[in-house]
Amino acid sequence: MNIEHFLTNASPSWMQHESDSDIVISTRIRLARNIANTRFPISFTEQEAQLIEEKMMQSLLSSYDNPYQFSYFQIKDMPVLQRQILVEKHLISPNLARRKKIGSFFLTKDESISILVNEEDHIRIQSLTQGMNLKEAFDKARNIDRYLSKSIAYAYEDRYGYLTSCPTNVGTGLRASVMLHLPALTMMKQMNPLIQMMTRLGMVVRGIYGEGSENLGNIYQISNQITLGKSEETILQELQEVVEQVIKKEELARKNLLMRAPSVLEDRLSRSLGTLKYAKILTSEEAASCLSNVRLGVSLGLLEAISQRKLNECMLIMQPGLIQQYIGTTLQPAERDMYRAKLLQEKLNEQDEATNNGEKGEDFL
């Protein structure tokens, strides 16, 4: 599979179903692994890096019973724009994208599994699913993990488990994250206390692009902080419980918002849809916040029905890299804002494939 396949489809196939919750967007599982008796990327030589890549290629590309059909790409061969798009689609990490010489990744055709090689650790297996599916995403990653361990001896010790470059990942090497849209909790200013409470429970809350990024469009990523001293099942179970609580809180906050000032809310959310439909210039911040409002409005029944799939696509294509990919040329930030407005309008005006003459078909998908 050549790289164009992964760049031109804005919306990956794993994201094309309608999920049952409009609060949970996606689930991501990551397993960090290293190869035994080999220095970590922070201290290894280029030659060692090369050997690791070869080992991975051997395990994933050249075996007879390979069920995964991975495509393999090296970072150093890629133009900056391509790297950016892969980050925007969450297929690779910003860290890997910044690499000048070493680093590569493997991708499945549906983009639901990617394996990052020589990022912070030698191997990072990542699996993505739509909605809240911790178990399914974990099983997928774990299967690849088992598959790799047949031919690769991992750095593992009985006491500390899987050894990782950073001790925040040691043990299970498991980071499970759920991406949530929490506009009502944000509007009601309940996010900060919630984040503090979650920290005490051993969870981390971050913006959409992970570590160090701000929340854009009221989208947050909740993940486990602890990787040692708890089993994989416990980690997943606890995250599941915390996320379910957050969803309940968000639902309650939405009800409260509706009760307090329904017409003010409706006005605000309708204006956002108006902006998306008619504005000529849209910055990414404005687009993200309007899309968040529209998502909320649709979910509360205050706005016309727009499928989640379409809204998810809008969220993806409004990002700088994907806009430029779509237009087919590099753009200055000001030009990007114009094209962003144009693209979102086109997307929102597109007829939904499955709409039933404008009747409430969306809910039944």
Binding site: P167, T172, I226
Partner: protein
Amino acid sequence: MICEHCKQRHANVTVTQVHNGQKVERHYCEVCATQFHPFQFDVNEEPASLQQLISNWFNFVPVNAKKESTTTNTNSPKSCPSCGFTYRQFLKQGKFGCGQCYETFSEQLPQLLERLQAGTQHVGYMEEGPSKEKVEQQIQELRTSLQQAIAEERFEDAASIRDEVRELESKIRQEGEGNA
């Protein structure tokens, strides 16, 4: 302004030192400043990263580390035999250089992990031992180095390699019996 030390690069770090109650300002470039004052400022590559968090949590450790380095200097400087990392380097970068660092810094590790993690003992999935093929490959490699040791008349090494080979061979035999 030019760096006071290398006199080449642009000075963009100001270091304030207090000597006998008198403030002295020094101007260094980032490169020289990291060499002199590894703990007094962050290189700021990844803002608010977990690595920095660790460094911040352990800001009190440099005192211990200094103490330790003075005491251990006479015996052996504590650096990882496999990657050369020191504990100071780990604190600065928030990452270990290799798997062996976990063994090398085993004294400091429990207190670090207790702060970061839910315990100091892995309770998750156990990694299965290497497959028969992998062990056989390992034996083959050991035999080659055994020959080499004998040729170079390093008999002590040869003896320990031989023991290792025997151990692995008996492991394979046991597994074979277990399967049968």
